[in-house]
Symmetry: C2
Subunit: 230 residues, 2 copies
DNA sequence: CCGTGAATGTGAAGGCCTTCACGGTGACAA
DNA sequence: TTGTCACCGTGAAGGCCTTCACATTCACGG
């Protein structure tokens, strides 16, 4: 995904014309991250908006007790870093590259004047934020009303839809993610995730490998999400 | 707080001039809610933006198991209903009046064209959303890393700052809120909240009454938030 | 091709809350 | 005034996870 394509594909800027897109493009730069490289940390000052061109990153915070809370994984086409930019506060979470990643960056001093000239783009940006709020609320609700297995199943399905690979066309979906990360996403321990996954493996719902989960029966996981069994 | 004052006070519109404010004002109507009256429910279609003029409301969702998850209380000067408006999806939570409440309402067909003409206002609205994301992330993190007493203490302090009354000037702060609601806010049961509050009452940190908590030693609660004692 | 560390697999013990089951008590309406 | 309902108070039992403590096993850099 090249820079122009990203800018165009992202909902924020989808309403822009050719010329405006080019103009904005000139204000961007590209940044490359190595695996595990830190883009920024919670608490840093934040003046850049980022868009993922290729690769993937994780958004998380590390609690005072050392436990990580992961908010999500982001891949090509997704935008991050808007929060600190809009309210001029510190970065609200840390961002780390999962693999080699290429980012497009846009500085506040370029973005804000641009937004002032292009209300449509600003409304688009607000839409991204609205979606963010929606996702966070839903997760808060889930964590409070859904038992652990359901939460793991739900997140696994979401991950498979967002980042899943399909080695064989039409075949089972593979999610690449260590169990520890899945635990941080769901708000539990690695051990609990492991035991649940093994139980599902036993039952033929999934297949486990180092750093990956292959979903063999998505409907069964979906069912666990909906009912309150197991 | 009258309608004009609200519009002016709210960060979204703080950058507007007199004339523009008047224009926008003409597009608004007022709505009154009785105690416990429902403004809208999660899942409803949403085309209105609201601002609280007087009174207060709670934002919550009811999980499939009947348990409520409360996202917050809102009072005069606060804006709600932006999410569904911006992404044109269903309402993401339900809103119920706590007491008699007066709201200002603004319909999407008036707001969107207005935002398109006033980028500053749109950026302001995005700022409100950014703050919302920030608060939700912080709460997600807290729930996952902080033990229950700390979470209750923290929320109690936040509530006292946002909605606290001070019967005697300079005296202790009173928070009006049933223990069940506090439990829904923190993500626990009424019983757990009750036991913790009683322990603190025993220790002289708070005083309890029907539907209210009086905070006598805020610093002590703050300390519980920070350390991992008790 | 071998070490070495990250990631997985598992069981035992125990704790923090939830759940359940009531009894009390004040506010408010009839 | 009196009934009723919402809210508060409290103990007992138990369960769902966490914590802890290791064994194991791949991936990969040297």
């Amino acid at each position: 995904m090249d820079r122009r394509e990203l800018l165009g594909s992202v909902s924020i800027f989808s309403s822009l014309g050719e010329k405006e897109l080019d103009l904005l493009l000139q204000a961007t730069t590209t940044k490359r991250l190595l695996p595990k490289e830190v883009l920024f940390r919670k608490g840093d000052p934040g003046n850049q908006l980022y868009g993922v061109l290729s690769g993937s990153i994780k958004v998380l915070t590390t609690g005072s007790d050392g436990k990580d809370v992961m908010f999500g994984l982001m891949g090509p086409g997704e935008v991050l870093g808007e929060i600190a930019l809009l309210d001029s506060e510190e970065r609200s979470a840390s961002v780390i590259a999962v693999e080699a990643t290429e980012l497009l960056t846009l500085h506040r001093r370029e973005l804000i004047p641009f937004l002032e000239k292009h209300p449509q783009a600003t409304i688009g940006l607000a839409g991204v934020l609205a979606a963010r709020v929606r996702k966070l609320s839903e997760r808060a609700e889930d964590r409070q009303t859904m038992p652990l297995p359901g939460r793991i199943a739900k997140r696994l399905i979401a991950l498979s839809e967002q980042h899943g690979k399909r080695p064989i066309v039409g075949g089972p979906v593979e999610v690449r993610l260590p169990q520890q990360d899945l635990a941080d996403l769901v708000g539990t321990t690695r051990e609990s995730v492991n035991k649940q996954l093994r139980a599902w493996e036993e039952a033929g719902l999934v297949e486990l490998g180092r750093g990956r989960v292959v979903i063999k029966r998505p409907e069964a996981l979906q069912a666990i999400t909906e009912t309150f069994e197991l």
